[in-house]
């Protein structure tokens, strides 16, 4: 695919497209910039052939009917050819990280999102929830048009009504409040500024999960408004305190990319060292070289103890002594020593929602001289601008009837506010509430008017997640329903022309065009920015930032909290976290995310109460026993998960579940843990002390895809330490000499496709699972079927624990079909439904399969998946494949499997074919890197490399010759084409 991406269109073609755009007028595709389209070499006749083929393929691939609805063929843009994939650069709206994306569209339907390799920050990687956003586009629960008091209404009358009410309110000096999530787009930001600049108008920002503490601390410590931009690439020592920066904290894709970039043992001493202090076992903690379980209430204490040690070394900085009896002093010493040794290229990050703790961490980074190097305060992150205090005031005012009009944009407080009921009550006292939600969610259901916003894949927009790093978003499909961009609603209600496309262009013309000197015409600048998707302004030079925070006060408050905790005494501590899959819950109605196994616990479909093994056995609780968690007046019932590495007295619970009005997939899955959070003294805090635990006697078995957690002493995931790796790189991993072949080697074909997976780089983030699901039309089977061990994922991440239950080491291993040279599955099939291709692929022939499952039994890796039922168009499995809308996400290049046949990883054979076709069309051999599998493409850690083993110079061949290489179960004699590189820990 890369080849296609690199392909450049001639400038006059660009011009022509621009004209088209003008001609097309309001057509939503006006001025779009596709990244591909037919190479100029192809004549119009070939073109039609391709188009014809494409249509046939599309028709054949179960993407029926509703397709037409998606394509306004009236004036078909040049670059859209049926059957030929086009790539549009845009920006992900999945979370506030705003990753740059390339969206693959087929026949006018976006079917797959991929990272935009042109982005210097995010690279080509994406995360699991980013991958899943394309499915949210085809969500049945989306509103089909505006609602007025629950009844469908016309935009015109709604606009008339809302505008008049707003005008009236303005005239009466009443307050009109726009409550929105963090707005990433600079253009939209300006629009909102203009909106709230008028008297009586107000804008309040609120994030589902609060980062206020970090913002406030940063403001107080450095006088900088924003979230520091953490640069893990520059950090050779990382100390994390409860910050799941590889999983869900701020910008996981960017962080994973930079973090993994420093985890290359071949680069020797440069490999970073990572110490992590946390309560629950998070994805990040599971990757740490040294992980120390702590109680949530100890976060501040740990930060303080660290600062104390650093300050001692640094001198001239007074930090009060703290009682460390409850902490692991040895680990702290070690961490401090490492940090100090790596002054200036170390990094301390904390996920605490407590200003004091963040202040202390800032101080630590300042003392270590990391400011301006690993902590960038000049080009700050513009994510998470939510202001809890302002929100609390707003609710106050609403309750006091001081708000006349409330417009809700991208927020759902009635679900994710700790005191949702209070908000709902207050909302009822606002004369006019307008929601811009895309569905009738918990909050929108209470609004008078709902004006559904576009899905981001249908809308124009831009983003600036990190100061001066801008990206554009363009529609990849005509709006599926009668929805309208939120910005256009706001424009309309200000009595301005509701055309955000023009507004956006205008903003870029005025604000960004002058900031560059590469192009002299704006259209050229615009076209190229749109084509590239990203436009990075030269970063602001780093200037001196002195730490001016009040450390003493911070320390004092930490110690006070500590004292309170001691006083509270009895009871457990509660730790709420944002899970990697459904994140804050906004995308909970996405079956791909619901069925994505948690990277660590491997549990799907719902949250659970994670308990330490010791605690569980003391309370005689086992996986699946339902317990009631009581915190204050709140009570939540959840099944237990016995989680090794969980801190002794802490219960960890994931947020984002327990939706009630998200849609038929998410409603009633798991329990809503937001009410357990506390919103005291301005900031929301996601930890709690004095929590009670009561057994209910009920059982609710967890739907986990992995139920055995030990490697049983088998060398499945090989690991070594950096030290021993450096002295003997083979590290025993090279032990296996090739077993003798019983038969003459068969003649090889032109290629020998294979894969190399670096277990040191892989964090286990599971993005590959969702990417594969999207690419290969892998069905969702639902909670019950997962419980029965029938999930269909072609790639899974095996996770093993080693060492003690209390502080285990975690090992992950991506596992998919190993495409064995001597595949045990092949000889046993009576009808030859699985055979070997001449270029090294183990092929599964769905049409021929009669479903004896012998191959599944004989597969030592257990990577084959059987279609136990008809998963498509079956009311038993009421997920995306059971709705004409949801089916639109299916990849027409991949068969939708019928019941009774076996399936498995094909190494994305459709991509291989596409790559070969491309190469032969250009009359050249397939070059290394031309073909990327979906799992490789999505991996932000670049842990997966696919390529041709027959070409000794290919990347995959070189990696397969590395000394860390080994093949799983080599001794069984399967001769896999997938090579693993042993895990190296910097311990």
């Amino acid at each position: 695919m890369n080849a296609e991406l690199r392909f450049w269109k001639s400038v006059d073609e660009l011009r022509r497209d621009a004209d088209d755009g003008a001609a097309a007028g309001r057509d939503c595709f006006a001025g779009q910039r596709a990244r591909t389209g037919p190479p100029p070499a192809v004549s119009r006749r070939d073109f039609l052939t391709l188009a014809g083929f494409g249509l046939a393929a599309a028709a054949a691939a179960c993407s029926r009917g509703s397709v037409q609805k998606a394509i306004p063929m009236l004036n078909q843009p040049e670059q859209m050819t049926p059957g030929v994939a086009s790539y549009y650069a845009t920006t992900c709206g999945g979370c506030s990280a705003g990753c740059a994306l390339l969206v693959k569209t087929r026949d006018g339907r976006p079917i797959k999102v991929e990272g935009n390799a042109e982005s210097a920050v995010f690279g080509g990687g994406t995360c699991a929830s980013g991958q899943a956003t394309v499915l949210s586009l085809y969500d049945d629960a989306r509103l089909k048009g505006p609602l007025w008091r629950g009844q469908p209404a016309a935009w015109a009358e709604i606009d008339a009504h809302v505008s008049s009410r707003i005008a009236a309110a303005a005239a009466a000096r009443k307050r009109v409040v726009l409550l929105s999530r963090t707005i990433l787009g600079p253009a939209t930001r300006r629009l909102v500024r203009e909106w709230s600049s008028r008297p009586g108008f107000e804008h309040v920002t609120r994030d589902a999960i609060s980062y206020s503490a970090l913002r406030d601390a940063t403001r107080a410590s450095f006088g900088v408004d924003g979230i520091p931009h953490y640069r893990f690439a520059g950090a050779s020592v990382i100390v994390g305190i409860e910050a799941d920066f590889l999983g869900a904290w701020l910008s996981p894709v960017e962080f994973t990319r930079e973090y993994a970039g420093r985890r290359r043992p071949e680069s020797g001493a440069l490999m970073s060292r990572h110490v992590h202090f946390e309560s629950g076992l998070s994805l990040t903690g599971s990757n740490a070289d040294l992980r120390v379980p702590i109680a949530p209430s100890e976060q501040g204490l740990v930060a303080l103890a660290l600062l104390h040690r650093i300050a001692r070394r640094h001198g001239g900085f007074e930090v009060p002594e703290v009682d460390e009896s409850s902490l692991d002093a040895e680990a702290l010493d070690e961490a401090a020593e490492d940090l100090w040794r790596a002054r200036g290229e170390s990094l301390v990050v904390a996920g605490a929602h407590d200003e004091a703790t963040q202040t202390i961490v800032h101080a630590t980074n300042a003392l270590l001289g990391n400011i301006g190097r690993t902590v960038d305060l000049d080009n700050v992150s513009l994510q998470k601008q939510g202001d809890d205090a302002a929100f609390d005031r707003l609710v106050e005012d609403m309750a006091e009837r001081r708000v006349d009009v409330l417009i809700l944009y991208g927020v759902n407080p009635a679900y994710d506010a700790p005191d949702a009921d209070r908000f709902a009550a207050a909302m009822a006292r606002v004369p006019l509430t307008v929601s811009l939600a895309d569905r009738l969610d918990e909050t929108a259901a209470r609004a008078d008017i709902v004006c559904p916003d576009h899905h981001f894949l249908e809308a124009w927009g831009d983003a600036e997640p990190i100061a001066r790093h801008c990206s554009l978003a363009q529609p990849t499909i005509a709006p599926l329903f009668d929805t309208r961009a939120a910005q256009e609603s706001l424009l309309a209600w200000q009595g301005r022309t509701p055309d955000f496309y023009e507004y956006l262009r205008a903003y870029w013309r005025e604000a960004l065009f002058p900031a560059q000197d590469r192009y002299d015409s704006f259209d050229e600048f615009w076209d190229h920015s749109l084509h590239d998707g990203v436009f990075a302004r030269s970063p602001r030079p780093s200037n001196e930032h002195r730490f001016e925070g009040d450390c003493a006060r911070a320390a004092a408050s930490v110690l006070r909290a500590r004292a309170q905790r001691a006083a509270a005494g009895i009871g457990y501590e509660l730790h709420l976290y944002e899970p990697v899959g459904v994140r804050d819950g906004a995308h909970a109605n996405n079956p791909w995310l619901q069925e994505l196994p948690d990277p660590v616990s491997k549990v799907t479909w719902g949250n659970y109460a994670a308990l330490a093994p010791a605690l569980a056995s003391r309370l005689a609780l086992a996986d699946g026993d339902v317990v009631a968690i009581e915190a204050g007046a709140q009570r939540v019932e959840l099944p237990v998960l016995v989680q090794p590495g969980q801190s002794a007295q802490t219960i960890s619970v994931a947020l984002g579940y327990g939706r009630t009005r998200a849609g038929r997939v998410a409603d009633g899955v798991g329990a809503n843990a937001y009410p357990l959070a506390q919103s005291s003294g301005g900031g929301r805090r996601y930890i709690r002390t004095g929590v009670r635990l009561a057994r209910t006697g009920r059982r609710d078995p967890l739907a986990a895809t992995q139920t055995h957690h030990s490697m049983e002493g088998r060398e499945i995931v090989k690991q070594t330490t950096l030290a021993s790796f450096l002295e003997s790189p083979a590290g025993g991993a090279d032990a296996h000499a090739d077993l003798p072949n019983l038969w003459a080697e068969r003649p090889r074909g032109e290629h020998n496709w294979g894969m190399a997976i670096d277990l040191t780089a892989c964090t286990g983030c599971s993005a590959c699972v969702t990417a594969c699901q999207a690419e290969n039309n892998v069905p969702v089977v639902g909670r019950d079927e997962v419980r029965r061990g029938r999930e269909m994922h072609w790639i899974r991440l095996d996770r093993y624990y080693t060492g003690s239950e209390d502080a285990p080491e975690t090992l992950v291993q991506p596992m998919m079909c190993q495409h064995c040279g001597h595949a045990p599955c092949e000889p046993v099939c009576p009808v030859l439904a699985t055979v070997h291709s001449s270029d090294g692929l183990n092929q599964q022939v769905y049409n021929r399969c009669v479903g004896t499952r012998y191959c599944e039994n004989n597969c030592p890796y257990k990577v084959r998946r059987f279609n136990w039922f008809e998963y498509a168009r079956n009311d038993r499995f009421d997920f995306n494949m059971n709705s004409p809308l949801g089916e639109m996400v299916l990849n027409p290049d991949v068969t939708v499997r019928s019941r009774g046949v076996m399936e498995k990883c094909s190494l994305c054979v459709q991509r291989i074919q596409a790559g070969k076709l491309e190469a032969s069309r250009e009359g050249r051999p397939v070059a290394d890197g031309d073909i990327q599998t979906a799992c490789q493409q999505v991996c932000p850690a670049e842990a997966i490399v696919f390529g041709d083993l027959a070409d000794p110079s290919s990347r995959v061949s070189r990696l397969s010759r590395q000394q860390r290489r080994y093949r799983v179960l080599e001794e069984v004699g399967t001769r896999p084409n997938v090579t693993y590189l042993a895990k190296v820990r910097n311990a």
Binding site: W743, P827, L832, H836, S838
Partner: protein, 174 residues
């Protein structure tokens, strides 16, 4: 075509065997013997040659085996050679079980068919009975009358002396 028979019935297979032996000793030709169960020693007494069914079995078995092996080779090596688990096209050992099964099948069916043909047994053919009890509890010897072939009186007496329980004449087709 109908002909005449002298039918002597016996209750005891041993008596029967002796009778048959005695009669043949006198140079009479036994047309056939009918019995509800195989009578041992009668083959020798009647001078029946050993059956040639085993040859049918051998030939059919060899043919079936050869055909199967040939087919397996044709398919796996010539017509549709695929890379199956990296195994050689000609996985001879793997072809043995099916070849064996087909050998047994071919041999068994052929032998049974040969028997039915030779014995003239096929659905709907009317039984040619030397009296119903021969399928129940009676043994019978049948001599075929030919003009001046032998002295019926002597035959009859021999049979009686050897314990025939009943002697009658029968005209019909056996």
């Amino acid at each position: 075509m109908a002909s005449a028979y002298l039918i002597a019935t016996f209750a005891e297979p041993r008596a029967l065997v002796d009778a048959v032996a005695a009669i043949r000793a006198r140079g009479f030709k036994i047309y056939d013997v009918y019995a509800p169960c195989p009578v041992h020693g009668l083959d020798e007494a009647m001078g029946i040659r050993r059956s040639r069914l085993p040859y049918v079995t051998l030939v059919a078995g060899v043919l079936a085996c050869a055909a199967t092996v040939a087919f397996e080779f044709y398919v796996a090596v010539f017509d549709w050679a695929l890379n199956i688990g990296g195994k050689p096209d000609n996985s001879t050992l793997a072809f043995v079980p099916i070849a064996f099964e087909m050998t047994v099948l071919g041999a068994g069916l052929a032998t049974a068919a040969a028997f039915l043909l030779r014995a003239g047994l096929f659905p709907g053919s009317a039984p040619k009975l030397a009296g119903p009890p021969v399928t129940d509890d009676t043994f019978a010897v049948a001599l075929r009358w030919r003009p001046n072939a032998f002295d019926t009186g002597e035959a009859r007496n021999l049979l009686i002396e050897n314990g025939a329980t009943d002697i009658r004449q029968m005209v019909g087709d056996l």
